[in-house]
């Protein structure tokens, strides 16, 4: 037994590099060049400090792999697979078209109601799935958090990024619908990436904040679906802002999703932009993002201890 162990050991070293070469490495190793300044400083949490972007950059490949994992694993062992990314907004659109478009006669800014609803649902499905999965992401990754270091922010970020893949797939149907209804794309389409980016940042801000909160207060998991449902009804997903009385419209502006969802429709269907709403959305999104980053950073250090 002992002998076979020695064999293994030797075959192993020869596998990596010849023994003589290895000895050489050993001889030169002590003169290893150490950096002047420490690469890592470990000390008690100093409350203030933003997200360490340099550290985040160093771990960018991890963001890629975690996103890729989320996408890959999400539809494993499902019969329909990635089709779910299309079915969710599509079926919801059909139901809404029937009830709100046909029966209730909700107006749709002169756009065919199915198209109108689908564009809103596209944005909303992405947003709600992103905050749900990123909100639960840290708790679901307890095994990683307690065993290995990396910037924790990567976990909720990867969940949001994985949602983007679904969004891209759902866009295919939108294109088909637009062809079917013969809606022409205008120059305003250049604003689409900006609106998508804004949705992503808003989802990231919400996801980051909620995921951190969820580690400490598991109530988040129960409150979240409820919150999302309410939020949808105060967002112009299935109705246009113009549907509401003038007096309460300003109230809708407080919801950053208002400007965003309208932004999708404007850029896709060439409707006039509501710049006020869009600016308010952008300001709210960035404010939320910075607050979330700050609060995440504060909570981050205790994740491993309490998750």
């Amino acid at each position: 037994m002992g002998n076979s162990g020695i064999d293994t050991h030797e075959s192993l070293t020869s596998q990596t590099q010849p023994t003589s070469e290895r000895k050489q490495v050993r001889a030169t190793a002590p003169t290893l060049h150490l950096p002047e300044k420490p690469l890592v400083i470990i000390q008690p949490n100093n409350d203030w400090g933003g997200i360490d972007l340099r550290d985040l950059w160093a771990f960018r490949d991890l963001l890629y792999f975690l996103t890729w994992r989320d996408v890959k694993v999400r539809y494993k062992q499902t019969a329909l697979g990635i089709l779910w990314a299309i079915l969710q907004p599509l079926l919801t659109m059909l139901v809404f078209t029937l009830f709100f478009g046909r029966l209730a006669g909700v107006p749709s800014d002169n756009i065919p109601y199915p198209l109108f609803a689908y564009a809103g649902l596209l944005a909303w499905t992405f947003f709600s799935n992103a905050i749900t999965s990123s909100g639960n992401s840290l708790v679901g990754s307890a095994h990683l958090i307690t065993k290995v270091y990396f910037p924790r922010i990567i976990i909720p970020s990867a969940s949001v990024a994985a949602g983007l893949v679904d969004l891209a797939i759902a866009f295919v149907i939108l294109v088909l619908l637009m062809v079917y209804y013969r809606v022409m794309v205008t120059w305003q389409i250049v604003m689409l990436p900006v609106v998508v980016l804004l949705t992503t940042l808003l989802a990231l801000g919400m996801g980051m904040w909620l995921s951190g909160l969820n580690v400490k207060y598991r109530d988040v998991r129960f409150a979240l679906p409820f919150l999302i449902q309410l939020w949808m009804f105060v967002s112009p997903v299935i109705y246009p802002t113009s549907f509401l009385p003038e007096k309460v419209r300003w109230f809708l502006l407080l919801n950053p999703m208002t400007g965003i969802i309208e932004g999708y429709r404007s850029s896709l269907f060439g409707l006039p932009f509501n710049w006020t709403a869009l600016t308010v959305s952008a300001v709210l999104t960035l404010t939320l993002l910075f607050y979330a980053a700050y609060s995440f950073r504060r909570m981050e250090k205790s994740f491993a201890d309490i998750v």
Partner: protein
């Protein structure tokens, strides 16, 4: 030389006693806030501060580049906490540490493996989680696969792997990490013996490449053979820091957990185990020389003492011991009829007697043992059988080639006399 790790006064405080509610609920916090808002203000975040424990305290040490440092101590001594702080998983409560190199930690093998993903996919995922760059993983991919010996299962989801295969893949990825500082927890405690040897071989290769390694282990042989230096932690504090051999032997002689009982005593002859013919008084295991509590190793000769009351005159009694291994296998049986002594094979009067069995070193294998005591009359009838509560650990303290450490298979591990000679030429 400039140290690669400098730690000053590192400490970590945990809140305890809230096991059943590991996390707060909003309601609890709101109730707390309503009930005693001033209290919250007063102590800030440190509420319930009376229920805290210092898992690590005043840890100050430096590690030179290329040093391999073993961290030893009982369970709960703070070893894992120290590793978690150094690998940045958790923040220290006090102190500061400066690391002059990239750190990678291996507190568990297979961290982040996803059961639904294939072996190939998990290599990438796990590599990235451990801090490898994509290009780095790609360039080492073939080596990793070769090390794991799982070529033909690469495209199988790991949920279909046996636990051995899973470990092999996980360690293959982990062992190809190339940080300047490697922090390793008891990862070698898993997998089969063959694989453990392979991992250990890889570890020693890492050490000889000039990598700095911090290594937590309960395996003293592994620590002695891999590490040049050891830190002994006890109740969160470093109580010894020095050459691995010295620290390990101090630890073994003083730091052993008292989880084995070396003695059973019954003072009351009326209630002691036994019957009308014989009653047991005391059973003890101790080393042949030295203090009774000294650890037993594979090399230590030790004795088993049985004291008993003989209640019938002119009884021809003898004691038989069945020594059990931790696998509940009888390693051997021995009786007090062999050897010499005043009453060996001779009838005894009524009174208190003591039989001593001398067990030589180089006989029992590593592990926990217990025994059964039989009192036999007239060589054939057993009067009384006692399953002794006494247990003893045989430790492995031999200095050997690192590639063979730990427990060898076999119920016993005698050192036998071999000779080898040449008996012909070709």
């Amino acid at each position: 030389m400039k140290p690669i790790v400098q730690a000053y006064n590192l400490g970590k405080q945990y809140q305890i006693g809230r096991r059943e509610a590991a996390y707060d609920t909003l309601r609890e916090s709101i109730v707390q806030l309503v009930r005693a808002p001033w209290q919250r203000l007063k102590v800030g975040n440190g509420r319930r501060s009376h229920e805290t424990i210092w898992a690590l305290r005043n840890a100050t040490f430096e590690v030179e580049p290329g040093e391999v440092v073993g961290i030893i101590g009982r369970n709960g001594a703070g070893k894992s906490t120290l590793l978690k702080v150094l690998s940045r998983i958790t923040d220290p409560t006090t102190g500061r540490a400066e690391l002059y190199g990239r750190v990678a930690s291996l507190l568990e093998v297979g961290t982040g493996f996803h059961p639904e993903l294939t072996g190939r996919e998990n290599i990438y995922l796990n590599g990235a989680i451990l801090g490898m760059k994509r290009g780095e993983i790609e360039s080492k991919f073939d080596q990793i696969v070769e090390f794991s010996e799982l070529e033909q299962f690469l495209d199988t989801p790991v949920k279909r792997y046996s636990s051995g295969m899973y470990m092999r893949l996980a360690f293959a990825v982990a062992s190809h990490l190339e940080p300047e500082i490697l922090v390793v927890d008891e990862v070698l405690a898993v997998g089969d013996a063959q694989f453990q040897k392979k991992c250990l071989g890889r570890m020693s290769a890492v050490a000889t490449e000039g990598r700095t390694v911090l290594f937590v282990s309960h395996n003293m042989v592994a620590v002695q053979s891999l590490c040049s230096r050891a830190l002994w932690l006890n109740q969160g504090e470093i109580i010894e820091d020095g050459p691995a051999g010295d620290v390990v032997s101090n630890y073994l002689s003083h730091g052993l957990p008292i989880d084995t009982s070396r003695e059973e005593v019954w003072d009351d002859i009326e209630t002691a185990p036994g019957n009308d013919s014989v009653r047991l008084h005391r059973i003890q295991v101790r080393p042949e020389s030295g203090t009774p509590s000294e650890p037993l190793t594979t090399k230590t000769p030790f004795v088993v003492e049985i004291e008993y009351w003989n209640l019938r005159p002119e009884a021809d009694l003898h004691i038989t011991l069945h020594i059990y291994t931790d696998q509940e296998v009888i390693a051997f049986t021995t009786g007090s009829r062999s050897g010499e002594g005043e009453y060996t094979g001779r009838p005894m009067p009524v009174g208190l007697f003591r039989s001593i069995c001398h067990i030589p070193g180089d006989l029992l294998n590593v592990g926990r043992h217990r025994f059964r005591v039989l009192v036999i009359k007239d060589m054939v009838t057993w009067l009384y059988k006692h399953e002794s509560e006494v247990t003893f650990d045989i430790l492995d303290r031999e200095e050997r080639e690192i590639s063979s450490y730990g427990r060898e298979p076999g119920v016993v591990k005698p050192t036998l006399n071999w000779s080898t000679e040449q008996i012909g030429t070709l």
